[in-house]
């Protein structure tokens, strides 16, 4: 097993808002292994973005660390003061964001924004930084990089912009790349290109990637391991194959069921209801009110992580030895059949 690069243990983060304290993350634990892609999947408000921001130390001013740790290179990032953090950002851990248009500064030429990372972090002289930036631009697939170096973000298409953002993120040879929904704002056709690019770069540079998304389809392409988040907690955690073909948590089932499927003509199985208000976190399992397979105990006690295999865990009372057996939803069964047929 590859070594662990980042270990997150029992991380809990809340935010002070005018309506009360919002518990965004309530005890999240996961690891990132070297050279793998870990996907964090969940709805809006599940806490996935907060997790990634916490690793980067870029939480908003009203954030409160309630507990837990993020271990990286022997240091706990939650305790790291800001002055030391900026040494990690960019050169060790990098991040790319969802909307490339607003991520880039509209009035500074694109090349300069890439070179800036080199000049300020590595102390490269300007000329050299410019050359390197052009190299990077070519690397991520921007044609005529030399000419486009001095152009502005609005002169690029969405996909191109995202490539530029990627080149900025990798300018200083970071070893960990956090991708926060990088393709959500892009056309489907471009999505594929960007994902391909990310995979390619991962191979070439031996990156470790945390990939945050709500789109399971994207996950299938990219992830080695998956963590499913809901209401600030990880509900299922395991190898990609395990989570897709042997899911154990009702929320994972619901997610898999809600993917549009060309094969059947059934109604789309949207998950009813909305995520809970995390200012008043529910007692018990947060998913219970929307859970088709909820049990009485789900409304009272939060389920612990049950072990399914050495690499696969799920936090659902259904895994309790005394819990009733339930039938998997159709969509999940179909996936298993698919896998079976492929294997054959």
């Amino acid at each position: 097993m590859a070594e662990k690069i980042i270990e997150v243990k029992d991380l809990a983060i809340s935010f002070k808002t005018q309506y009360g304290i919002l518990q965004a993350i309530r005890g999240v634990s996961f690891d990132l292994h070297k050279g793998e892609t870990l996907a964090i999947v969940g709805e809006s408000g599940s806490g996935k973005s907060v997790t990634s921001r916490a690793i980067m130390g870029l939480l908003a001013g009203n954030a409160i660390y309630e507990g837990g740790s993020i271990m990286y290179q022997g240091r706990d990032l939650t305790q790291l003061p800001e002055e030391l953090f900026h040494e990690i950002r960019g050169s060790k851990i990098s991040m790319i964001f969802q909307d490339p248009m607003s991520s880039l500064n509209p009035i500074i030429p694109v090349g300069k924004q890439i070179a800036e990372a080199l000049i300020f972090k590595m102390g490269m002289p300007k000329e050299m930084a410019k050359k390197r930036a052009i190299e990077l631009m070519t690397l991520v697939g921007i044609p005529e990089a030399e000419k486009r170096y001095s152009q502005y973000p609005f002169q690029f298409s969405g996909g191109m912009r995202q490539r530029i953002v990627i080149s900025i993120a990798l300018a200083n040879d970071a070893e960990v790349l956090i991708c926060d929904e990088p393709t959500t704002a892009l056309d489907v056709t471009i999505q594929g290109q960007i994902l391909e690019l990310i995979n390619k770069l991962k191979e070439e540079r031996g990156l470790s990637i945390i990939f945050i998304t709500h789109d399971l389809g994207v996950v299938a392409n990219m992830a080695d391991r998956i963590a499913v988040m809901y209401a600030g907690k990880i509900v299922e955690y395991g190898q990609s194959e395990e989570v897709f073909y042997n899911p154990k948590h009702p929320y994972t089932w619901a997610l898999l069921s809600s993917m549009p499927n060309l094969a059947t003509s059934n109604r789309l199985d949207a998950i009813q209801g909305t995520p809970p208000n995390m200012i008043f976190p529910p007692k018990g399992d947060a998913f219970a009110p929307r859970n088709q397979y909820a049990m009485a105990i789900d409304f009272e006690e939060q389920p612990p992580m049950f072990k399914v295999s050495d690499t696969h865990y799920a936090a659902t009372w259904l895994l309790h030895p005394d819990a009733p057996k339930v039938e998997l939803p159709d969509a999940v069964k179909r996936l298993q059949e698919l896998r079976g047929s492929v294997k054959k």
């Binding site: 960019g90 964001f97 991520s103 500064n105 972090k121």
Partner: protein, 320 residues
């Protein structure tokens, strides 16, 4: 871009010409725009030079011609001299009292705005914001008068509450210079809040933008990200305004000059209107000059927008 700019400038120039002509016409249509004078020789000369019996468009033509051939905008019946020479002789005094406060106020306002935005909602910001609110609300002439009252009449700290005249300067240079301290200080004071508020607002807005997040995640320190990104973006909208303001320094403020007894161009306008008969030649000059200054400002403003905001430069001319 160039064609767009030229088109806009062309339109501005046309508007300028139309406005000037309209004003000229309006004036000539006033009842006593060409009074009979006691001095027949003068009357004869003016009649010839300005074409008093001709139809208005021709008069306009002659007026324009006079500007370019003799540099004369007309003859002031009240002041008994060429309007141009009178008006422009008063300009230095106006510029003198306007320019230093304006130039001083810019860095001060920007500095305060930045301070307030960076320490948002902490006590520095609160003090600055309250100060801005107070001084932006109270009419500036009230501020000036009250300060004159407090510092000169009550406390007696100042040499005088008005500005020294040219003769004062000859008599006692340093004393005369010291009379400028309070006016400059007060005028700076009333000029600062407007810009400071805008800078604070804009910078606050920029600090919340996504590109700041990317800048931080690149590894830039908070300070680096703020100055290299947020600040640059925040100040760009104000640069054209600053350039326009510099041009605007030429216009003597009516109230300022009255309060500090500055012998500048401010008063001339009002005097021309309230004279009997109104000094139309002077009014014509003032209006034309004013429109011209506005035209210049417009052009400078447009140019600087193009220079500073690349979106304008390459786009269709709309600022996103």
């Amino acid at each position: 871009m160039t064609s767009y700019l030229l088109k806009r400038m062309g339109l501005m120039v046309i508007t300028f010409i139309i406005t000037v002509f309209l004003f000229f016409m309006f004036i000539k249509l006033m009842p006593n725009s060409q009074p009979s004078l006691n001095d027949p020789i003068l009357e004869e000369r003016l009649r010839a030079k300005e074409g008093w019996n001709e139809p208005i468009p021709i008069q306009f033509g002659m007026w324009v011609r006079n500007i370019f051939t003799e540099g004369s905008f007309g003859f002031s019946l009240n002041k008994r001299q060429d309007v141009g020479s009178y008006y422009f002789s008063k300009m230095p005094a106006s510029i003198q009292i306007n320019i230093i406060p304006y130039l001083l106020s810019i860095p001060i306002a920007i500095g305060l705005g930045i301070l307030a935005a960076l320490h948002k909602n902490k006590w520095i910001d609160n003090i600055i914001s309250v100060g801005i609110m107070v001084f932006i609300s109270i009419p500036y002439f009230v501020v000036i008068v009250v300060i004159q009252f407090i510092f000169y009449f009550e406390l007696g700290w100042l040499p005088d509450y008005v500005v020294a005249t040219a003769t004062d300067f000859q008599n006692n240079y340093w004393w005369a210079l010291s009379t400028y301290i309070m006016p400059v200080a007060v005028l700076t004071l009333v000029a600062v809040p407007g810009l400071a508020r805008s800078v604070r607002a804009e910078l606050t807005e920029q600090l919340t933008q996504d590109y700041m997040l990317l800048a931080r995640s690149k590894g830039l320190t908070k300070r680096q990200a703020t100055y290299r990104h947020a600040l640059k973006n925040a100040l760009v909208p104000f640069l054209p305004g600053i350039f326009i303001g510099i041009i605007g320094v030429i216009n003597g403020g009516l109230i300022t000059e009255k309060l500090f007894r500055v012998d500048g161009t401010g008063r001339i306008y009002l005097d021309a209107f309230q004279a009997i008969p109104p000094d139309y030649a002077m009014l014509m000059l003032i209006t034309t000059f004013g429109q011209f200054v506005a035209l210049l400002s417009g052009i400078v403003g447009d140019l600087s927008y193009t220079l500073f905001d690349p979106r304008v430069r390459f786009g269709s001319g709309k600022i996103s």
